[in-house]
Amino acid sequence: MNVKKENPHGTSQYARSLIEASLDPLVTISPEGKITDVNEATVKVTGVPREKLIGTDFSNYFTEPIKAREGYERVFKEGSVRDYPLSIKHSTGQITDVLYNASVYKDDKGNVLGVFAAARDIAERKKVEKQQLDLTDATAKTQLERTDAAAKTQLDLTDATAKTQLERTDAAAKTQLDLTDATAKTQLDLTDATAKTQLDLTDATAKTQLERTDAAALSEKLKGVAKDEFSAMVTHELHTPLVPILVYCKMFKTSMLGKMNEEQANAIKVIEKNAKRLETLISDIMDVRKLDLNQLKFKIDDLSLDEFFANLDSDYRKVLENKRCLFTTNIYAKNLVIKTDNLRLRQCFDNIIGNAIKFIPENKGKIEIGCMKENNSIVFYVKDNGIGIPPEKQKELFQKFYQIDTSERRSIGGTGLGLAISKGIVEKLGGTISVESDGKTGSTFFIQLPSKLIM
């Protein structure tokens, strides 16, 4: 007898109704990683209809598909996993952080049919932990509600969302009754492991249902989701159209698409310059946003200062010499290795040097970069002979979208975010950023990183 063929989802009618009763997203997965069954909650959290979910790859619906795959592979290998963190991706881009509990289920001959996986919303779970006391009481109350049906709960639930949840509570209660009736009959279908998971789930469902009556908390959560969705959308959707624009600009510039007259060539230069500016602006806005939300990620590693400055020197030397700018690098603290985020520190230097380049005098500019050890901290500096920054403007300089607005300076352009981002990064790295200038003859920017970072 081919069990799989006769019962393609590997789930009994009983299991089906139990799955459907849960407000948590539940799925069953075949050994090939394809979804064989889902409940309504999964449909809701993915935004994909049930019939479209079934038969597709389970990992498709997560922000980290490879991690999702590793998760269910582990279930097949070890029999079960608990609290496996993943983020479910809604078709609109909304992201829900969940913890997965999953175990294999088998036919009566002990052959593994698939994986039964239940997701628990992390935000919800955190609240569960916080309200442990309430819940001990509430769990008992829920037991009552299950037999006592809906009338009592109706009072607590006023809005439409709550009503839907009530229906769910009904369904759960019904299933609960079915469960007692059908226990003996269904025992055959279910291995011990599956039964245990399902019990956990029923408990979890009850807890979650209580919490979800708290509409305010729910809307708060949705706001958080919307933020993530926005960030992801901005980065991907706004960068994408710039890709072909910039490639075609390059083709025009190199006469790949035919020789252009001077006016046409200038027009392409303007298009390219502005597309690039937009690219920087998008990245900068994303960084500012991440800094504001405390989501900017840092990767702290050993960094050789000699190497750091050698890279800066080789990357900027040619550009600056073409501009007839005298460029010097002075490492007063040689052979030092510090613990910091190489790319983020470099980003600060790029911002500061980028500004310096904009303001140095044509053909007689001077830029000096370097570092020194000072009272057990490392001081990095970028010194230029540009137009300087008046003392009264120096504080505002690190604010978002700040540009000293004389027409001369405005015309130079920039996103007005570079120094604000640099300040944010340096502070996250535990340091400080500052500027010295008399407002006439150049300026020097300092980044000071604390001594505990020095190896």
């Binding site: 790859d57 990992s59 498709n60 980290e64 598909p65 490879i66 991690k67 795959r69 992801a232 980065t235 991907h236 960068h239 994408t240 710039l242 890709v243 072909p244 910039l246 490639v247 075609y248 390059k250 083709m251 790949m256 690219e279 994303m286 990620k297 990767k299």
Partner: protein, 120 residues
């Protein structure tokens, strides 16, 4: 050099392939993950430039499929993505045999220089 450019955005794929062809490279294009996978299986490319976010069959799916069948080791795959990708995902891709993950937009000349550098 024989290049495969995989991107569901036709404008992106066409723009890069035109550029590469102009620079005397042999460049094939695929706008669909599943189709790209069979192209990879049936041809040998010097480098595969691959988008990640594609409907139905993503760049992750391509990597996973090749990895699971032990077909990835002799291939040079460079991911080009317009998204900000987490370190974790990046490492996962590299663990499975992707050479590197680059951000779009990228200058096509810089990309070619980079490929020449990593191609032994």
């Amino acid at each position: 050099m024989k290049i495969l450019m995989i991107d569901d955005n036709e404008d992106i794929a066409t723009a890069f392939s035109k550029y590469f062809i102009y620079k005397d490279h042999d460049c094939s294009v695929s706008n669909d993950g599943q189709n790209a996978l069979s192209m990879i299986e049936n041809n040998s490319f010097d480098v595969i430039l691959m988008d990640l976010a594609m409907p139905n069959f993503s760049g992750y799916d391509i990597v996973e499929s090749l990895y699971n069948r032990n077909l990835i080791n002799n291939k040079l795959i460079v991911v080009l993505t317009a998204s900000s990708i987490s370190e974790e995902d990046k490492n996962d891709l590299k663990k499975r045999g992707v050479h590197s993950v680059l951000k779009k937009p990228i200058d096509p000349d810089e990309l070619l220089d980079y490929i020449n550098k990593i191609k032994k």
